[in-house]
Symmetry: C2
Subunit: 509 residues, 2 copies
């Protein structure tokens, strides 16, 4: 009886502390969103200080004697085993963060936050000037901080493993190397086949003329609404690089960017970010104010964005319903046929910009970043060698060479965020998305037909129920096994690509 009372008291105090830490995290998330969408330029240095202070206070709470005491109590098997499932998940997930925080020196954390907030402005400027050199000093600092972080967290084989684990718990170089090797082995013949087919879809009508930004944004909003994104619990704004960020299931912020000479890219990135956003909105709201109210891993998160962007947004079924609507918004597309449009948005072509690349080449973009990141963190490459390495790998895998650094190593926001080990989760997302979509088609029976009638909610509801609702209460591996009946299997993605692009380019596997 006494023990039980102590457990209840400790659990309540633990939950309250977790809520406070999560409120600080939600606040940091909002400040980060504001930094990239709304903040006036001169606000950057003080915003960096604010973020550093919040990170410090959050770290202090996470590593406080109170937290240590609560976890010590609640992790005892005799107590842990009698907790409800949600409390067990909370103790487990907070325990992981606690263990990592305990290993991370507070000064390192603060330096990281301050450096990355400065890095953002530096990256924006360097990118505008197309001068990687301008970004080098701060990037050098970021890499050194990541190396120190990896040492602090510990690893078995590569320091890069310690960083991978931050985004995809458990993922290692040992697992990734063969995975990428396999993808490369499958994608090269497919690309060869496509190049050898002699066919390239006409994409000129996607870029001919001017597609006014307000009308593009309105179209994106309309599609997001029909996908089921809740605008009473979210927003869509503009930023230099599209992203989604959520401070709770009830406040999810998406951004996109509009190119007035491209009728498709803003919509495509909106659907992508919408997939992320609907994951956050779809989590059981009872998990709010805890770390369980979040996607279980970046790989699973990316599977949701990729599914809406590609399996849906680049499918013939979707455009059967939406091409007439797009033509109503942009009458200059009036004479385009469904097949012409479907082929155009699925053109396969080596491109400089990862986020504008196609489904076939995308993972080669990730592969080169993976190799460069690994070499940087393992100390086998120096920062000023990046542009050359970038050009060489791009030539090697994609057969093209960027004309300047904005088309090359400055295109991604990730390094300015301090994120190393993040890129590989994009490839995991592609693999998971194909596997989940295959199951959705089996379980929903007529999925392609409903999509072709413009009904997107059956898929959204299925994803809510099967994947979103549990939040971080289940691991990625548990979810994929529960939903699809087997662990991650790359063959669904490869099969999907061969079936789709084999048909478009009239080639056989």
């Amino acid at each position: 009886m006494q023990t039980s009372m102590t457990t209840v008291t400790s659990l309540k105090a633990f939950q309250a502390l977790v809520n406070e830490i999560h409120d600080l995290g939600a606040t940091q998330s909002l400040l980060g969103w504001d930094l990239e969408t709304m903040m006036p330029a001169k606000g950057a240095p003080l915003r960096a200080k604010q973020l550093a202070t919040l990170a410090k206070l959050s770290h202090n709470l996470m590593t406080s004697p109170d937290m240590q005491e609560h976890l010590k109590t609640l992790r005892q098997p005799s107590i842990y085993d009698r907790l409800d499932t949600m409390s067990q998940a909370l103790v487990r997930e907070v325990g992981i963060v606690f263990d990592k925080s305990a290993k991370t020196p507070i000064e390192l954390l603060q330096e990281m936050v301050e450096t990355t907030a400065e890095a953002h402005s530096s990256w924006v400027e360097a990118r505008a000037n197309k001068q990687f050199k301008q970004f080098e000093p701060v990037l050098r600092k970021i890499i050194s901080l990541n190396q120190r972080l990896a040492e602090a967290l510990g690893y078995e084989d590569s320091p890069y493993d310690a960083l991978l684990d931050e985004y995809e718990p458990g993922l290692t170089v040992k697992q990734l190397d063969p995975l990428f090797a396999k993808l490369k082995a499958e994608l090269v013949p497919l690309l060869k086949g496509i190049h050898g087919s002699g066919y390239q879809p006409d994409v000129s009508f996607l870029h001919e003329g001017t597609f006014p930004a307000p009308r593009q944004l309105a179209f994106s909003e309309m599609v997001l609404r029909e996908m089921g994104f809740d605008f009473e619990a979210g927003r869509l704004d503009l930023s230099a690089h599209p992203f989604s960020s959520g401070s709770s299931t009830l406040d999810v912020r998406l951004t996109t960017r509009v190119d007035e000479h491209d009728v498709f890219s803003a919509l495509s990135s909106s659907m992508h970010e919408g997939g992320h956003g609907m994951y956050e909105q779809g989590i059981n709201p009872a998990l709010n104010r805890t770390p369980l109210a979040s996607g279980t891993s970046l790989g699973i998160h990316e599977s949701q964005s990729r599914m809406w962007e590609n399996q849906v947004g680049r499918s013939k079924a979707f455009w059967r319903a939406y091409l007439p609507k797009l033509q109503a918004a942009f009458p200059e597309l009036g004479s385009v046929t469904l097949d012409q449009f479907y082929h155009a948005i699925n053109r396969v072509k080596s491109t400089f910009i990862r986020v504008e690349s196609d489904e076939v080449t995308y993972n080669l973009h990730i592969l080169m970043r993976y190799e460069i990141e690994k070499a940087l963190i393992e100390g086998r490459m120096k920062v000023d060698e990046i542009p050359e390495a970038w050009a060489a790998k791009m030539q090697d895998y994609l057969g093209i060479t960027p004309r300047n650094d904005a088309e090359g190593a400055l295109q991604d926001i990730h390094w300015s965020h301090g994120s190393f080990g993040y890129f590989p989760t994009y490839t995991l997302g592609n693999l998971y998305s194909a596997q989940f979509f295959n199951t959705a088609k089996q379980q929903l029976g007529n999925l392609e037909e409903t999509i072709s009638q413009g009904q997107l909610l059956p898929l959204k509801n299925w994803l809510n129920k099967e994947i979103h609702a549990v939040g971080k209460m289940e691991t990625a591996d548990t979810i994929v096994r529960r939903v699809t009946g087997e662990p991650l299997n790359a063959s669904y993605f490869v099969d999907y690509l061969w079936a789709k692009y084999g048909e478009i380019f009239s080639i056989k596997r």
Copy 2:
């Protein structure tokens, strides 16, 4: 030597702690801005929790044993007297907040933050429905919390004094009662004279037709730029009720609201908020991350907004330069003469809405709020008696009766913010603004001429130097004496009104 080392160490640690507390305050300010401009509706309950957590952490730091120890050391006369001026001001100002925080129970503070965040949605809804009843339950809670706060802080005569002191340090009912009595005595004859003049300017052209919101916003932005508001260190957005909020001298957020059937009100409120914003931007940036980087009192703050809104924005000199620009933006005003326009924007007419009232009647709006607030806090009036009291006083002072609660007691955002004792600072602002402007005219010599040539920067630079730069290092009383050579004197405001409106309405004092 030993003492001196201890002092230096203590001062540095004190400053670092103050910086952290201020970062939390800046964060709360941004979350508040977001709440009223950007946040999706469903985000409200969790935003309330986030704000409550930040307030709690901030309170914890402010009342921490470390802070107590630092202040104890630094307040010793033998040490304090040897500090530099800025450090002395910091110890003084933080000491005041510390003493107040120490008296305020943390639970009360948290309850206040949570209640007011909820109150905002309640107020927005009640106002949309024009139903004061819907706002009553939460307002009752807010008043009770303010009464508990007053008891905790302590006071001599009225509990309302404890609340006044939060906004205008040292201000009491004893000082305000005769001040308002004097203003009432001076304004009634002026109003009588105006009514008896038989003249009412034609204002129809201000409201005829539609003045598109984007063009109004662009005009407001142009004027703000020419006033000297720095858009690299600030923004202008839309909200239900205009306000300005700053998290530093380098990030100041203004809001306005646009009525497409009123060409003047958005501009006028933009100039008002711009005056507040330029005060914050004008403070010595070395004071950032401390409470010294803020206006010294709400009265002085309001003097800056009022000066730009009225002494400048309703002057003939200003419109000599800007009427042609307004006519270029809105050609339908093309045939309006300078005198017609100047008279129209200075019409004197009893109106329901405080923020739309004129310079002559404005302080009567404040007087009735002052009387109602005092009665509520002193327990002489109940919340459900407000609409009736409102109607009676409005009839008494202004001769009109609101048709519904949106035109009555629901028009102001202040009570939903938990602010009682705030309104009187508006009247102080009017008095200070006239006194400062009188000195500016004397010292700048040709001020009206430069303004009539569209040169607004000489006034802005004078205000920066004389009033803004010191931030909170000097008290309101010190500033007004240093700048104008005497303490607050209501006669400048009364003289200004008589001179201006005597001329417009052809009446003699």
